[in-house]
């Protein structure tokens, strides 16, 4: 005689789990990781490995010995944080920098709030901003890193955004500055100097397409952010092209693509409804442009996302999905 189970419906489950979703995010980040390692050599690989290891270990230790609860590092969410943090640092940063950043990301930004699903701020971004304000020199210097396989010319010095900010401060105009700066195709494929993950727009977009195909994320947030940045910076640029950088430059430089595709779409720290997501994304776009144009930092994506993270509970409360049968007013 069979032992039969009885339970309420549904009696079957879809294929997705937290782990498969996080695994998909890691797969989507692989092109960016590859570009980073190809362009910057072993130091980028060391950063990724150190980041993932520290994040996973921190979460494990806290869950096992501090909370004494179930250990859930197998859901891969800590590993995702580690990779994202690594892609947010200069590729030649020392290994101990990311270790500190990872401990802050997981220990402070994630676990103090109760772990996965409870945190208000994106852990990787908290880690990055912590490092940015604590180690400003290390976080904004891009040393001459040896290209790993000699495929790509190594770069040195400041990022394009940093160079622009510095130049404008010194009274130069943009046309003088951009003469020796980057062409579009360079930006798109490989050569935008910056954090490990900011190197290639193409690699990030490949990851984006993968996430869309796997239905891990929807296009709403990234597309809205990019459109906002394009339109707002476009207005400024048209008003004064000598003072303000052009929209295409703004989209393909800095961490905008990495931030909009992989950080602003973080489930936990983004709104639940399409309406809320649009407001959230427009906010990120606006803040990014304003920090870049008027702030003291050359880059504003991290700040923009963290600031908009604060609004998520409110957006969730007031932006309700379209109910079935509701008449549009």
């Amino acid at each position: 005689m069979n032992k039969l189970f009885v339970s309420p419906s549904p009696h079957t489950h879809g294929p997705e789990s937290t782990q498969t979703i996080m695994r998909d995010v890691l797969i989507a980040l692989t092109p960016a990781m590859l570009v980073s390692v190809l362009a910057s050599g072993w130091s980028a690989l060391v950063l990724i490995i150190a980041g993932v290891a520290t994040c996973v270990l921190t979460e494990f230790l806290i869950q096992k010995y501090l909370i004494k609860g179930p250990v859930t590092v197998c859901d891969l969410s800590a590993a995702v944080t580690g990779v994202l943090l690594a892609l947010n640092l200069p590729p030649n940063a020392p290994w101990w920098l990311i270790v500190i950043g990872s401990v802050v990301a997981i220990g402070v930004a994630k676990m103090t709030f109760g772990g996965l699903g409870q945190n208000i701020f994106n852990p990787a971004l908290v880690g990055r901003v912590f490092l940015l304000v604590s180690f400003p020199v290390l976080m904004t210097t891009w040393d001459d890193a040896g290209s790993m396989f000699g495929i790509v010319d190594a770069f040195s010095g400041a990022t394009p955004l940093g160079a622009v900010k510095e130049g404008l401060k010194n009274g130069q105009t943009l046309s003088q500055l951009t003469a020796d700066n980057l062409t579009f195709s360079q930006q798109f494929f490989f050569n935008v100097g910056g954090s490990a993950g900011e190197l290639s727009a193409l690699a990030l977009i490949l990851g984006f397409i993968y996430l869309l195909c796997r239905r891990v994320i929807k296009a709403t947030i990234p597309v809205t952010i990019l459109c906002t940045v394009f339109v707002v910076s476009g207005i400024f640029w048209l008003a004064n092209p000598e003072r303000f950088t052009n929209p295409v430059f703004n989209i393909f430089t800095g961490g905008l693509l990495l931030g909009s595709i992989f950080m602003a779409t973080d489930y936990v720290t983004s709104p639940m409804t399409t309406k809320g997501q649009i407001i959230f994304a427009v906010g990120i776009g606006l803040i990014t442009v304003f920090v870049r144009y008027f702030g003291s930092y050359p880059e504003g994506v991290s700040f923009a996302i963290l600031i908009m993270n604060c609004t998520v509970p409110l957006l969730n409360k007031y932006c309700k999905p379209h109910r079935f049968g509701e008449v549009k007013k």
Partner: protein
Amino acid sequence: MKKTFRIGGVHPHDNKISAEAAIEVFPAIETAYVSMAQHLGAPATPVVAVGDKVKVGQVIAEPSGFISAYVHSPVSGTVKSVGPRADIAGNMVPHVEITVEGDEWMEDIDRSDRIISEIPYSPEEIIEKVKKAGVVGLGGASFPTHVKLAPPKDKKAECLILNGTECEPYLTSDDRIMRERPQEILIGGAIMMKALGVTRGYVGIEENKPAAIASMTEAAKAFPQIEVVTLKKRYPQGGEKQLIDAVIRRQVPSGALPIDTGAVVQNVGTSLAVYEAVQKNKPTIDNVITVTGRCLPAQHNYKVRIGTPMSKILEVAGGLPENAAKVISGGPMMGRAIANLDAATVKANGAILVLTEAETRRRSESACIRCSKCASACPMGLEPWLLNKLSRAGGRYDELEKERVFDCIECGCCSFTCPAGIPLLDMIRISKAEVMKIMRSRPKK
């Protein structure tokens, strides 16, 4: 572009492995256990006593209220007992037990294969015939059909939608009857249209049933008022509200009845039962049941007399395999797990599904990652994650009501989708029952 409903929905693997199994007549049984609660509403009152001789199609119970239905003997023989017996969930329900002797039918039932397409009856006569035949909605809710064919005076029906979506995975009984008996289904539809006084009819069929679409489209050539609509494959398209939205682009407002959109939805199985009731004088005494499961040696679509024990059906189908872990009446999304295999079939049973442990294992629950996939999947535009949270917070029923927990149709899309394996629907059901109770207890204005 193929039509579908506009909010939410999921795409479970359709697993229609029994689709090619033609309908077989189930062998004669020895004893029939006929439930008095085969319909929504008050259980029927038995009108036979122990020792009475009954024929196939003879009335054995009468409705005991406005929303109730007649019950007929599905077999011929002697009434052995009248009393409580366990249903599939183990609840004690009044049954009439009949020992089968031969197969003698009531004389007025037309048992020939001749298809009668003329409808000489008035709407009132049709409704009376449907009522007398004990026809109930065979899509699952088992709402008495004659009640649905007579909408309240202040509502106006504009069209009839026949539900051939069969959006639940595994189920194929509607697919089979649409392939094998399309004309009768459409005549049944025409009969109901006449009763409702409407001139527009639709048959909604999902695209994963091309053979059924072909046969129904072919047969529909003789019915210019009825249009066969091919729908995209998407669960829960067979939900009454979703189907109306998919076919005529109208959404039933919260708290309103489907009739408020002008549409009356009937399952294709019900349509066939209406045809038999009106044209052939045959009451609902049998139905087509899919017996399926990847672990079963063979897949079947049986035409089974009502009152046949589930265990008997499984035995004839080849027995329950060693690795069977769950037997479900209905599909995997909304079906009910059977606690008592000796329970007998009722009119609205459409399938017996056998799943192994691996196929039906519940995931262990982990933390909500706020992916909002449940909200995207919800066909009613609710936020299951929030309802779950409020439900677990205990007693926050005013908020749950404001979040429209009572709109939940219990389709299971949220639990199915949740990557964290949270039993969202379980939690919603708990608070929904509570909220409905509170709403009902309020004085009416």
